[in-house]
């Protein structure tokens, strides 16, 4: 095949130079890869690649540090917002964000999340809500929908047995330290673009010292949901979005 010379004006898309070439461990169809890409792009476009520290969680995104070419600290399960608090307080000129799943941020780490938000820490939490524990093999998350089957709710989530799912973004909206809460998704190209704008805004808030921002990304887990990537996107639209509606929850 003849080599094609790409002219600058013909390039419509390029991978962020902050995205490393490591092969991703995520399942095909998973939302994580898309969100990683968006974060890398935002950091690059804001010129923050030498000033950013990421805090990776325990969960599927534990290896986030293998994919974005910035400094990282890997936190204990749920503690990312506490870890990020100190990093930012000790380096107020830096960009510090956490990247956490629903189990990490809104189950085991609820306390750390709420208090970092209440204190108005100038950090960003990127919150991947796919209503399931992906890494440990598809168990119930606090965000698992009623009736949804998981490894620990094999007959479907029953509120009498398993309690109700909750929306932590809505809960955090009541806190004075929080400046920006938004619920996004990456299941269509249009949503991907919106999600990127939301991430950019959150990162700008943190650098401007406006307080705590969180971008919730309503995501798919096609392995955990036992659906093909396409079916998972459809399921998300039909089941997740009615309970976790997209849009800004708080923006001040």
């Amino acid at each position: 095949m003849a080599e094609v010379e790409l002219k600058q004006e013909n390039i419509v898309y390029a991978k962020s130079k902050l995205m490393l070439d490591n092969v991703m461990h995520y399942c095909p169809g998973c939302s994580h890869g898309t969100v990683h890409k968006l974060i890398a792009e935002v950091i690059e476009e804001m010129g923050l690649e030498h000033k950013t520290m990421g805090v990776s969680p325990v969960g599927c995104a534990v290896f986030a540090y293998n994919y974005i070419d910035i400094d990282w600290a890997e936190a204990a399960h749920g503690r990312a917002c506490a870890v990020a608090t100190a990093m930012k307080r000790l380096h107020p000129d830096r960009m510090v964000f956490t990247y956490q799943g629903d189990g990490d941020l809104s189950a085991i780490g609820t306390c750390e999340t709420i208090h970092a938000a209440a204190r108005g820490e100038n950090i960003v939490a990127v919150y991947i809500n796919n209503a399931i524990y992906g890494m440990t093999g598809g168990q119930m998350a606090p965000t698992t929908l009623l009736g949804m089957k998981t490894a620990t709710t094999p007959y479907g989530r029953d509120p009498r047995l398993n309690g109700y799912p909750y929306k932590i973004s809505d809960m955090l909206a009541h806190l004075d330290g929080v400046c920006y809460l938004t619920r996004q998704s990456v299941h269509t190209p249009a949503n991907v673009r919106k999600c990127k704008r939301a991430l950019r805004k959150a990162f700008e808030n943190a650098m401007a010292g406006k307080g705590f921002s969180m971008v919730e990304v309503v995501s798919t887990c096609n392995s955990g949901w036992k659906l093909s990537p396409v079916k998972a996107n459809e399921w998300l639209e039909e089941n997740m979005l009615p309970f976790y509606p997209l849009g800004d929850v708080k923006d001040i």
Binding site: T52, W72, E74, A86, R89, H91, E112
Partner: protein, 364 residues
């Protein structure tokens, strides 16, 4: 003439002064009796207005230790303090700190347990402090002060050791040392390290924002490949061995001609030094071996004392018998080793220890 900075201070207060003067970058803590004066003093001194030190009251000890993890991950000198139940909550964080090889300082002003227990002094956390105290094979560097002056001095020593070995260090005090006031000479104020100095010192590992001239740094304790994880463990063990070879500290009081040796640390050692005086006055040749580093433990000197012909050792602790196991391992059967202790916040008297020495060792 400049006034010498001799002050009368509580052990807990002096921790705060020493941290500021050492050039500590951040303190993250949660109140618990009997150590709350550490953060209270810091908040009163407002070091963020002078040295730039960050002081933050966290929502829990779990959060405190993870803030310490975050701060340490960026190469800063950070610390927390708590008392026994709070330190239990920090166990997870300590394991992660050790696993990620992060230097930091944790002060445990012990109280009696188990559970909520009492707020009175105890040494019941020896096992927790010295035997890892959380999951995985790791050690903290553990220093045991027996005076307010040592509370002051060990802040600098612990930070220096923590950075030398990239390992968390603990000052294992107790309610008595924390609440007591004594004379203390404060060290001069040292400047905090600049960001440039930290970047030079911690270039190879810390996460402070990846500069153009190096690869990204990832602070983590995770390694799923078992052959790699084993290598990490071997490196940690080599580090602990180096500590055992180079960092053992102890005080030997009247041990040279001693027929019997009391082994005690921290506040117990203060009490037992009075026991030595009482015994010597009665013509009984008793010495006191005070481990200053509980980890690494002064095994060698104990083995030498046993070898030299000491007739028996009494490990006097404010617990049910914890350090005595290390004393026995060191003495290795060459002489009898017994334990005497009080628990639940009760404290033994010098006479009580002497009686125990007679009952359990001398007249046995």
């Amino acid at each position: 003439m400049a006034e010498k900075e001799v002050k009368l201070m509580k052990g807990n207060e002096v921790i705060a002064h020493a941290a500021i003067r050492y050039g500590c970058d951040g303190y993250f803590g949660y109140p618990i009796t009997p150590q709350s004066e550490v953060m209270e003093t810091l908040m009163e001194l407002k070091p963020w207005e002078t040295t730039g030190m960050v002081v933050l009251q966290a929502e829990s000890e779990v959060s405190s230790i993870n803030m310490v993890y975050g701060g340490a991950a960026t190469g800063k000198r950070v610390m927390t303090s708590s008392s026994s139940p709070g330190v239990s909550l920090m166990s997870e964080g300590l394991s992660y700190l050790a696993g990620a090889e992060l230097p930091c300082l944790v002060v445990n002003c012990q109280r009696g347990g188990p559970g909520l227990g009492t707020i009175q002094p105890s040494q019941g956390d020896y096992f927790q402090a010295c035997k890892g105290g959380a999951h995985g094979d790791f050690h903290l560097i553990v220093l045991a002060p027996n005076s307010v002056q040592e509370m002051h001095d060990f802040v600098a020593d612990a930070f220096d050791l923590a950075f030398k070995y990239r390992n968390p260090a603990m000052i294992l005090a107790d309610g008595a040392i924390g609440q007591m006031m004594e004379k203390v000479t404060l060290s001069p104020q040292r400047p905090r390290k600049t960001d440039a100095e930290i970047e030079a010192e911690c270039h190879s590992w810390a996460a402070y924002g990846k500069p153009a001239d190096r690869e990204r740094n990832v602070v983590t304790s995770l390694e799923l490949r078992s052959e790699e994880m084993e290598k990490i463990n071997q490196r940690l063990q080599a580090k602990y061995k180096a500590m055992e070879e180079n960092e053992v500290r102890y005080e030997a009081i009247e041990c040279d001609d001693a027929d019997y040796v009391i082994v005690a640390f921290g506040s117990s050692a203060r009490i037992c030094s009075a026991t030595v005086e009482i015994a010597r006055a009665e013509g009984v040749k008793v010495g006191l071996l005070r481990p200053i580093t509980l980890y690494p433990f002064p095994k060698k000197v104990l083995a030498e004392l046993a070898e030299r012909g000491v007739k028996g050792f009494l490990s006097a602790e404010l617990n049910a018998g914890q350090m005595v196991e290390d004393v026995r391992l060191a003495v290795n059967g060459k002489a009898p080793v017994e334990h005497y202790g009080r628990q639940g916040g009760s404290i033994f008297t010098p006479d009580e220890v002497f009686k125990a020495l007679k009952d359990k060792i001398i007249n046995r």
